[in-house]
Each structure stands twice: as structure tokens, then as C-alpha cells.
């Protein structure tokens, strides 16, 4: 365990730094490495300084934090449901967040209120999906996934309705939010706080999650207080997702792709996978957002388009392989 932990952090920490540097260097205007170095050292031209430190850095940090949170949320949900297909987006959490955000936008509320409404929507959706899927027994993975997919479809209908009745001037902002958009993120630090806290909490819980992944009965026989642990993960995953969605909107599939890739490389120890998912999710979303800013520059793509284009094939591949 120690070895794969060191290997994972040894690879992913430098990669995270590199991803953020790439995000700083590329955009509508590319900044050569020498100039970027100068800006970081407090020198460099005024234009470059403003571009890098005031526009790109907060955005890169926001993308990284949100991606990290989505990665951890996916990894936690997959353990809770013992199913590698679980993901906040697939389970309809992001749909609930979108409805909350659109309602706030329609009411003409501030950007901050939109975030809070998104947070509330994600939590509401979690309660609905997990509550309905729980039923009388435990969370059977199939029932949970189906409930999530159907609830997501329901949110989709509400979203279409809201778009249909919205004034035309509001539509572009709404659409961008729906597809996931980092450009609204101004203050990345609360999300970073949550991310650090979550990783610190996940480390001591990791071994318990390893045991829980073998089923609730087996875990109980090995000394895990199953119910309290399950509720902790459930609430944590909901809060984490809501925090991420509040930052970047309905970005899908980060929580699906990242833990899956990392498991292939570093094995299945949750003490490795959870912190690695935080870094891996951060790297993925930072790079995806950089791509979204540069592909059709000076226009921007919603980052959710890029993650979905990566995520859908991965999801289908996983589904195909799981009999």
C-alpha cells in the first residue's frame, strides 16, 4: 500500500503542477515558457501578468478543485454502491443542481445565489435518488443506477421546460451552465478548502472503505459499523458534488473516468485511489478546460462537452465489460 501510495503521489503531484502551468500558458493567447516563468517570478509584461494571475490562475485553480471534488465524489459513490458505473452526473445529482441554478437565474438572482441554488438542487437530488433507491433493503446497485437515470431524465424535462419559458437573452448563460462552465468561477478557495478536508478525512477512512467494498455483511463481520459509515459517505459525496457543481456547473463523467483509470494503474486500495482521484480529477478538468478555451479560440467551448466526449465511451465500455 505504501509503495503504490508513494508512486501515485509521486506521479500525480508533478502532473498536477504541470497541468496548472499548461492552463496558465495556453488560451486565446499562448504565453511562451520563458515569459510564463517571468510572470511567476513577479516580472514579465503587464498584459501577461494580468492574463496569467488575474484571469487564468483563478480559473485553473477553480477547475482543478472542482475536478478533484468530482473525482473523489465518484470514487466514494462507487465504493458505496460497489459499482464502477456510479457517478454524480449519471445518478442525477448534477441535473438537480442545474434545475436549482436555472431557477435562480430565471428569478434574476446574483451569481452567488445561483451557486447556492445549485448546491441545494444537488442535495435535493441526492436525497430523492438515494431515498427512493434505498426502499426497504440496502442500496442494490442496479436499482440505484436505474433510479438515478430516471430521476436525471426527470430533471432533463424540467430543464427543457425552464429553457422554453426563459427570455432569449438569458439562454446562452443558462446553456453554458448546463454544459459545465468554469468561466463563472471566481473564487476557487472554498472549493480547495473542501477538497483538502475531504482528502484528509478519506485517508483514515480508506481501509474501512476497502472492507466495505466487499459488501455490507462481510464488512460488518470484519468490525465495520456499516450503517454509520455508509451514511457518512453518502452525505460526504452529496456535499462534495454540490460544492463542485456550484463552481463549474453540470460537468459530467469526471467521477467516472478518473477513478476507473487510476484503478487500472494503481490497484484498488481506497487509501491510494481517493487522494489519487482528487489529483487525477483536478488534472483532467484543468486540461479539459484549457482545451475548451483554446480549441475554437477566441470562442470558448463548455468544458462539459469535452468531459462528456471522453466519458460516454468510457461509461459504455465499462457497461459492456460488466456482463
Amino acid at each position: 500500500m505504501t509503495r503504490s501510495f508513494l508512486l501515485a503521489t509521486g506521479v500525480l503531484l508533478p502532473a498536477s503542477l504541470l497541468a496548472i502551468l499548461i492552463a496558465l500558458a495556453y488560451g486565446s493567447v499562448a504565453i511562451p515558457a520563458g515569459d510564463l516563468l517571468a510572470v511567476i517570478q513577479g516580472e514579465g509584461s503587464r498584459l501577461h501578468s494580468t492574463l496569467v494571475l488575474e484571469l487564468r490562475l483563478p480559473r485553473a485553480l477553480a477547475a482543478f478543485a472542482a475536478g478533484g471534488l468530482l473525482g473523489v465524489a465518484g470514487a466514494l459513490m462507487q465504493v458505496l454502491l460497489r459499482n464502477p458505473l456510479a457517478d454524480p452526473y449519471v445518478l442525477g445529482l448534477s441535473g438537480g443542481a442545474s434545475v436549482g441554478a436555472l431557477l435562480a437565474m430565471l428569478a434574476g438572482l446574483s451569481m452567488f445565489s445561483v451557486s447556492v441554488a445549485a448546491f441545494a438542487g444537488a442535495l435535493l437530488s441526492t436525497v430523492i435518488v438515494f431515498g427512493l433507491a434505498h426502499g426497504t433493503g440496502s442500496w442494490t446497485p442496479t436499482r440505484l443506477l436505474l433510479t438515478g437515470v430516471v430521476v436525471a431524465a426527470g430533471w432533463g424535462a424540467v430543464i427543457s421546460f425552464l429553457l422554453a419559458v426563459s427570455p432569449t437573452a438569458e439562454l446562452p448563460g443558462m446553456l453554458y451552465w448546463l454544459m459545465g462552465d468554469v468561466s463563472h468561477a471566481r473564487n476557487p478557495y472554498p472549493a480547495w478548502g473542501v477538497l483538502v478536508l475531504v482528502v484528509l478525512l478519506a485517508l483514515p477512512l480508506g481501509r474501512t472503505l476497502n472492507v466495505l467494498a466487499r459488501g455490507p455483511m462481510q464488512a460488518a463481520a470484519l468490525g465495520v459499523a456499516v450503517r454509520p459509515v455508509e451514511w457518512t459517505i453518502y452525505i460526504a459525496a452529496a456535499l462534495i458534488t454540490a460544492t463542485a457543481v456550484m463552481q463549474v456547473g453540470a460537468v459530467g463523467f469526471v467521477g467516472l473516468i478518473v477513478p476507473h483509470m487510476l484503478r487500472l494503474i494503481f490497484g484498488n486500495d481506497q487509501r491510494v485511489i481517493l487522494p489519487a482521484s482528487a489529483l487525477g480529477g483536478g488534472i483532467l478538468l484543468t486540461l479539459a478546460d484549457t482545451l475548451a478555451r483554446t480549441m475554437i479560440a477566441p470562442e470558448q467551448l463548455p468544458v462539459g462537452v469535452i468531459t462528456a466526449m471522453l466519458g460516454v465511451p468510457v461509461f459504455l465500455f465499462l457497461l459492456y465489460r460488466s456482463r
Binding site: P204, R207, T208, G215, G223, A225, N268, D269
Partner: protein
């Protein structure tokens, strides 16, 4: 061990005098005792209350047809499901007083089915048996690894240490489950059909090993479907009848052919090998 022999005096109606459960009062060193325990099988009438006393050095076999409640009983004894009535005492203390972690150091359970959420290696799987002994921030020590490797060696799995569990055969997976509980190293082992998927050699090897563990201060309770293996390896038997009745006591008092025939609803012939009775199903 004295050879077990069917006492001809006891043949006949299982409810006739002379075929009764042998009640033993709990001793100070008793590992597990139940008082008037009625297991809870949904939508089934309550069965006979069980007063079992499992002492160190004992190996109990639970025999009964499918659906008699054998697994439910094991799960109830391990505190994984509530009983309909009665009490369970683990080493003299009521079971509800134990925290899950504390209980997992005293009681280990091998399930009939094994779930592997995400593929892990054989060694990692055995190593989770150390979970009840580690605090949240602890990382498995060299000693924990050594215990897991020893248990894998006992179960003849050393060669497979780095294999992923989802590539194992049914029998290998079953031996791994037993190796995990041996790594857990509890004082009372509860095993649900531990030999159901094993070849003959491994059936004997596993039961020999469990019999060896259930010597001094430890004990084991095994759900078995093979009466003859139970006769060989268990010093006490609990017969669970389909109608909810139950009989228990030292093996030699329980080997009443008519009772076993009623237990399985199957005519049996009786022979003898090495001084042990051998039961063979007889087609009608």
C-alpha cells in the same frame, strides 16, 4: 478421540425418550452461549428455542436440509441479524454490549457467497482480516503481512498471492475466504459450508486445519452438508429440522439413523469405516 458409534438403543423415533438435546450449562470459559434463542426467518413460524453452549476446544457441525435456517443461525450468532427472541452471550457478556470491532476479534464468519466489489489481489483480500486490529491511521505492519501470508500458506494459496480474486476458481475463492478469517484469527470461527466447492483433498485439508485450530482455547461452528465429514470432524452436532425443531449434543448421541433420515427426508444405509459410522443415501 473415541470412535463415534451409533448407539442401537437410540434408534427409532427422534422424539422418543432417549433422543434429546444434551444441555450443558455455560462455564466461565464458555465462548458462546445462547439462551432460548429463536432465529428470525421472515414469514416462518418460530422454531424451537436453542440453548447452545460452545466451549473452547469444541468443533460443532450444523446439519439440516436447505432452508432450515442454518445460515440465518450463523448470521444471528455473529450479530449480523436480530434474533426473534432469546439472548446470545459471547464469553459471558451479552452480544449487544460488544462494539463491532471488538466482536470481530472474538468471532469470525465465512460466508457462503463472496462479493468482490473491485478486483483486489489475493494477498490484499486476506489482509483485510487484520482490519479489526488496526486503528484508522494504522497501516498494515510486516507482522500483519506475515499473518496473512501464513494463512494463505495454510490454505495452499501462496502461489496465487498476486493473482486478482476475480480470476480465481470457485474452490480457490472459497479457500481465500477461509484464509481471510484465519488472518482475522478470532477465538470462535463460524463457517458457512466451508467445503462446498472444494475437491476431496482440500475438503480434508481445510477441515483438518480447522479441527487443529479448534483445540485449546478456540472453537469452530461449521455448517456442513456432508454428514460423514461432520461425523469425522465435529465433536458436537446441531440438527436443524425443516419444521423448525432442533436437536443438539455430542456427535455420538446425535447419530440416530432414523433422525438423520427424517432430517433430510432421505432413506439412509449405515456402514462403518475406521470405527466411524458412514451414512449412504439409499434410493427409494
Amino acid at each position: 478421540m473415541p470412535p463415534h458409534t451409533a448407539d442401537p438403543q437410540r434408534h427409532g423415533d427422534p422424539h422418543a425418550p432417549g433422543f434429546e438435546s444434551v444441555h450443558e450449562a455455560p462455564r466461565p470459559d464458555t465462548l458462546l452461549a445462547t439462551r432460548d434463542l429463536v432465529i428470525d426467518i421472515p414469514e416462518r413460524a418460530s422454531g424451537a428455542p436453542l440453548d447452545l453452549t460452545i466451549n473452547p476446544g469444541q468443533c460443532w457441525g450444523i446439519l439440516g436440509p436447505n432452508g432450515a435456517g442454518k445460515s440465518t443461525l450463523l448470521h444471528t450468532l455473529a450479530g449480523l441479524r436480530a434474533a426473534r427472541a432469546g439472548e446470545i452471550h459471547v464469553q459471558g457478556r451479552p452480544l449487544p454490549e460488544y462494539s463491532r470491532t471488538r466482536l470481530a476479534r472474538e468471532l469470525g464468519l465465512v460466508f457462503q457467497k463472496h462479493h468482490d466489489g473491485f478486483p483486489a489481489t489475493v494477498l490484499e483480500t486476506a489482509l483485510i482480516g487484520r482490519h479489526p486490529y488496526l486503528r484508522p491511521w494504522d497501516i498494515e505492519t510486516a507482522e500483519d503481512y506475515a499473518q496473512a501470508r501464513t494463512a494463505l500458506a495454510w490454505m495452499d494459496l501462496t502461489e496465487l498471492e498476486h493473482r486478482l480474486v476475480d480470476t480465481l476458481s470457485g474452490g480457490e475463492r472459497q479457500r481465500l475466504a477461509i484464509a481471510t478469517v484465519l488472518t482475522q484469527n478470532p477465538r470462535l470461527l463460524l463457517l458457512d459450508e466451508p467445503t462446498s466447492q472444494l475437491d476431496l483433498h482440500h475438503q480434508v485439508a481445510v477441515l483438518d486445519h480447522i479441527r487443529g485450530i479448534a483445540r485449546d482455547d478456540r472453537a469452530a461452528i461449521l455448517v456442513l452438508h456432508d454428514v460423514n465429514l461432520a461425523v469425522r470432524y465435529c465433536d458436537h452436532l446441531l440438527l436443524m429440522f425443516p419444521d423448525g425443531k432442533a436437536c443438539w449434543g455430542p456427535t455420538r448421541t446425535m447419530l440416530v439413523p432414523s433422525a438423520l433420515e427424517r432430517l433430510y427426508n432421505q432413506p439412509l444405509g449405515v456402514g462403518e469405516i475406521d470405527g466411524y459410522p458412514v451414512f449412504m443415501p439409499r434410493p427409494d
